[in-house]
């Protein structure tokens, strides 16, 4: 069982962000009270193998609040002594004091939202930190005794050099890199810019090329691509991440957080404070087809693939499946089906074709 805790506060909104995050520090106390009671209410006593503080910017809030949350989780669940406990951080709000505090309360994995090591790109994205701050924060984390450090890189802004950035991050002893492509979401500042023909945004082709090069580089350096966007040195894969792809049960606490019962029910908390405080939840029961779709969609993103036996139908009867196997776009080994890594950048098209049949 996995636990996700959403911290919806930020010091400022990034230009590409369409997620539940608010620049609203006066809400903090009330929010954490609500969060604590939600955890208490939904406690099951099950064993928790990982906890993930995501955001928003968990590093910008008073760390004592995180301590309260962890305490509550320990009360209501059986937190495994080996549990992976991750926090997402922004380099600019990361201080030595905070890092020491995190270490003390049991956080053992850091995920830095580096995005880029080019100050112009960072500015364009509306990030508050600089290259210098990012590298400094990572060094500080190392000094505080953190080993399991991850950095996010955002692909798709012209002028950025993700491969170059990755090399620098590896020299700083980062063990895990997540590479995402810039998504232009409705209602964001970036969307407005893009609709005005902003020249800073790279085309899908350009981003795809950059991704391919980055992937090659990271693998050459000894990292493993265990999921399309995630690269890690052996032993440093995020078990929390993997749980999402493999259909494990997880509980999400906090504003807009998602939960999954590991079978056929997915639910999500409300994405505004008011509704969250009144306990509004939207949930859906997955049909057999939807469950199948998820298995394929999530499985093909990972090096682990998916198990044919888990599907409710015989995938071998699909003409597109047969074609993909023939063309070596999909690999089949025993019951496990995986996507040829050469086609990772086009995984959507493969998944779509399978779902269409």
């Amino acid at each position: 069982m996995r636990v996700y805790v959403h911290i919806p506060f930020c010091e400022s909104k990034c230009s590409y962000c369409a997620f539940a995050s608010f620049v609203n520090p006066q809400e903090e106390t009330k929010y954490f009270d609500a969060l604590i009671s939600e955890i208490a209410l939904r406690s099951t006593g099950e064993e928790v193998e990982s906890v993930y503080f995501g955001g928003g910017t968990p590093s910008c809030i008073d760390p004592k609040n995180l301590e309260r949350v962890l305490e509550k989780i320990k009360q209501g669940f059986k937190l495994s002594p080996k549990a992976e406990i991750t926090i997402e951080l922004n380099p600019n709000s990361t201080t030595k004091q905070k890092l020491d505090f995190y270490k003390r309360i049991g956080i053992n994995r850091l995920s830095f939202g580096v995005q880029s090591l080019n100050d112009k790109v960072l500015q364009f994205l509306g990030r508050r930190h600089t290259k210098k701050q990012a590298l400094f924060a990572i060094t500080e984390a190392k000094k505080c005794g953190f080993e399991n450090i991850s950095a996010d890189l955002l692909l798709g802004v012209k002028g950025g050099r993700p491969k170059h950035d990755a090399a620098r991050l590896l020299r700083a002893k980062v063990k895990h890199i997540s590479a995402y492509m810039l998504q232009i979401e409705e209602g964001t500042k970036l969307k407005k810019l893009a609709s005005k023909g902003c020249k800073k945004i790279a085309s899908e082709d350009e981003s795809a090329k950059i991704y391919q090069k980055l992937a090659q580089f990271l693998q050459k350096k000894g990292l493993k691509r265990y999921e399309i966007s995630n690269f890690a040195f052996p032993g440093y894969q995020s078990s929390h991440n993997i749980a999402y792809w493999t259909g494990e049960k997880y509980l999400g606490f906090g504003l807009g957080a998602h939960s999954y019962d590991g079978k056929n029910e997915r639910s999500a908390n409300a994405t505004n404070f008011e509704d969250y405080y009144t306990g509004k939840v939207t949930s859906e029961r997955l049909s057999q087809t939807e469950r199948d779709e998820e298995i394929i969609m999530l499985g093909l993103r990972c090096e682990y693939g998916f198990d044919k036996e888990k599907l409710s139908f015989d995938i071998e009867k699909l003409p597109s499946y047969k074609n993909f196997i023939k063309q070596k776009i999909l690999f089949s080994c025993g019951n496990i089906v995986t996507l040829n890594p050469d086609y990772y950048a086009a995984s959507n098209a493969v998944i779509l074709q399978l779902l269409k049949d």
Binding site: H6, Q183, A208, I228, M297, A346, L355
Partner: protein
């Protein structure tokens, strides 16, 4: 009785208001109650109404009182398109007179002229009618002068009407009675009836639309189709009012229908003569012709497993359209389908649209081709209407291609543009006549194969739509033709092959691969598109491999959003045809014809 009958048709250029006038005439004579009027009654097919053109003729009988006497007016509507010239000629043969509609805003157009000449050839009395006088741009006097100068008919007393709002339509009825002569013929002579159209009725079998010239016919009679040499027993005769209405008998001068439990429309040939088996007429009516398809193409179901549905659809359409021809065809790229023959491009378009609409089948239509006569080095002669059946170049002695003689009508300022176009299309110049100050007629001999490509579109754009065009088949001519193959990812796609003239093969090959590059979506792998003549590659483009938005972050386990996004994309995904390992949208096959719009 005969003296009170008037058999007439309406001839007009497309969109000059034929169907609207027919509607008004029916309304005025009370043939249909106004509340039942559905605009343009005669165009019974949905598609016809949508396109605003009449394809299939539907006759109607109207009663009209004039000068204290009751007259019977039989309107035989005619199709207004060059594809159906033969049908038009048979309809004209069933009439004594024709109303020639000229649009007051457009004047005399090519089709007007071609049909007017056909009517004159058929010895019909022609009543010019000037329509659309309600429009501000109507030029009645100019129009009258054109009718006199260009068509050569007096137009002084031509009714000037607006079929749309009904102005002066009564004058048309009067003119029909006064000026068109009643049918001749002898009721007591042996039966002689002209089949000018047919359709299939699920209960009565094939229905023959006939004009009785001599004698009479009633249920129970044994009849003989003189050209088809088939015999049947009449089960019912009747009139069109405009719905079918059974009567006791049809006699000389009348227009109506004969049903005789005829199982298949292929036994009924337009232009055939019906007579009594026991007491036949001495001579069949003249003018009978077996209609041959002019344009061919392959038709395949997008979903290959629906081959039988496609076959069913074609069989059903054939019931109502004897001119449609089809034979099974196998394509390595598209699987099982049919090679179909049509009277022309419009006919092709109508049939393919009807298959999709009325039978709910997604189909792929391959590039249309004409029928070439191929003489092999061993002396053998072949008719090739499917490019992929063309023998290898070394076995070919010569290829003959069908030609047409074309007349183009244009204002003088576009003469240059038209001649350039005809020259490009390998036309042979024949003649140029100034009909008047505003109108020139240019005659060319052109290969039919060049016309079925983009000739109409190009003509339109070269002359801002002012020129019009009419053609007739005009024999065969040897030409240096080659087969142009298209290869996708190294595999020849037979459904994309074309027969083209050697001189334009390179340009065509280049244009096609460029066009396909635009039309074929990116695939999971690189797809080279090549054009080849024999083993020689003459053009190449490459579609780069697909790379698409994969690296979206899955925020906090929000899997639902991702799935919904995929589902949305799934809905939007077009059905495509798998050719080897490449997916092609079905419009690709026809699109290779429409190349010039983007160059």
């Amino acid at each position: 009785m005969k003296e009170k009958i008037r058999n007439f048709c309406i001839i007009a250029h497309i969109d000059h208001g034929k169907s609207t006038l027919a509607d008004r005439l029916m309304e005025l004579t009370g043939s249909v109650a106004k509340r039942d009027m559905q605009s343009q009654l005669l165009d019974s097919m949905e598609l016809e109404r949508e396109k605003g053109i009449t394809i299939k003729l539907t006759p109607t009988r109207m009663n009209y009182s004039y000068g204290g006497e009751e007259f019977v007016l039989n309107l035989i509507d005619t199709p207004g398109h060059v594809d159906f010239t033969y049908e038009v000629s048979r309809s004209l043969a069933a009439c004594e007179g024709a109303i020639l509609i000229v649009d007051a805003t457009q004047g005399v157009e090519a089709q007007t002229l071609a049909n007017a000449y056909m009517a004159i050839d058929a010895n019909l009395e022609i009543l010019p009618v000037i329509n659309k006088i309600d429009l501000p741009s109507a030029q009645i006097e100019k129009c009258k002068k054109e009718i006199e100068d260009v068509v050569g008919l007096p137009a002084d007393d031509a009714p000037c009407i607006s079929a749309k709002d009904g102005t002066n339509v009564e004058d048309v009825l009067k003119a029909i009675v006064e000026r068109i002569s009643p049918p001749k013929g002898d009721e007591n002579a042996p039966l002689k009836a002209l089949v000018f159209d047919s359709f299939y009725d699920n209960f009565k079998g094939a229905i023959c639309l006939v004009r009785i010239f001599d004698g009479s016919v009633r249920a129970g009679d044994k009849i003989l189709f003189m050209q088809a040499e088939k015999e049947f027993e009449v089960t019912e005769v009747g009139l069109f009012k405009p719905k079918m209405e059974e009567v006791e008998s049809l006699s000389a001068g009348e227009v109506g229908y004969i049903a005789a439990s005829i199982k298949s429309l292929s036994d009924v040939h337009v232009g055939d003569t019906i007579t009594h088996t026991a007491l036949p007429t001495a001579q069949p009516l003249p003018g009978y012709k077996v209609v041959q398809p002019v344009v061919y193409c392959g038709i395949f179901a997008v979903d290959g497993s629906r081959y039988n549905d496609l076959k069913e659809a074609l069989l059903k359409l054939k019931l109502n359209d004897a001119s449609l021809q089809f034979t099974p065809e196998v394509s390595t790229a598209l699987g099982f389908g049919f090679r179909c023959g049509f009277l022309g491009l419009l006919h092709l378009e109508i049939i393919t649209q009807r298959i999709e609409r009325e039978f709910n089948l997604d189909i792929i239509t391959t590039a249309p081709s004409v029928s070439y006569t191929v003489v092999k080095t061993n002396g053998e002669q072949l008719e090739i209407s499917n490019p992929s059946n063309l023998p290898p170049a070394v076995e070919i002695e010569k290829i003959l291609e069908p030609m047409v003689s074309a007349s183009l009508f244009t204002p003088p300022e576009y003469v240059g543009a038209i001649m350039e176009l005809c020259q490009q299309k390998r036309g042979v110049y024949k003649n140029l006549t100034y009909l008047d100050k505003t109108r020139v007629r240019i005659d060319y001999r052109l290969p039919l194969g060049e016309i079925i490509y983009d000739f109409f579109d190009k003509l339109k754009s070269a002359t801002k739509g002012f020129a019009s065009f009419d053609y007739q088949m005009d024999g065969l001519m040897p030409a240096k033709l080659v087969k142009l193959d298209i290869l996708l990812k190294g595999e020849k796609c037979d459904a994309l092959s074309l027969i083209v003239h050697e001189s334009s093969a390179y340009a065509r090959g280049r244009a096609i691969v460029e066009k396909l590059k635009k039309i074929i979506p990116r695939q999971l792998f690189e797809v080279p598109i090549q054009a080849a003549i024999g083993n020689k590659i003459i053009a190449r483009e490459t579609i780069s491999a697909l790379r698409k938005d994969v690296l979206a972050k899955c925020y906090g386990g929000d899997v639902t959003r991702k799935r919904k996004l995929l589902e949305k994309q799934k809905e939007g995904k077009k059905r495509m045809r798998q050719i080897g390992s490449v997916e092609i949208p079905s419009e690709a096959f026809l699109s290779i014809l429409k190349l010039d719009d983007e160059q």
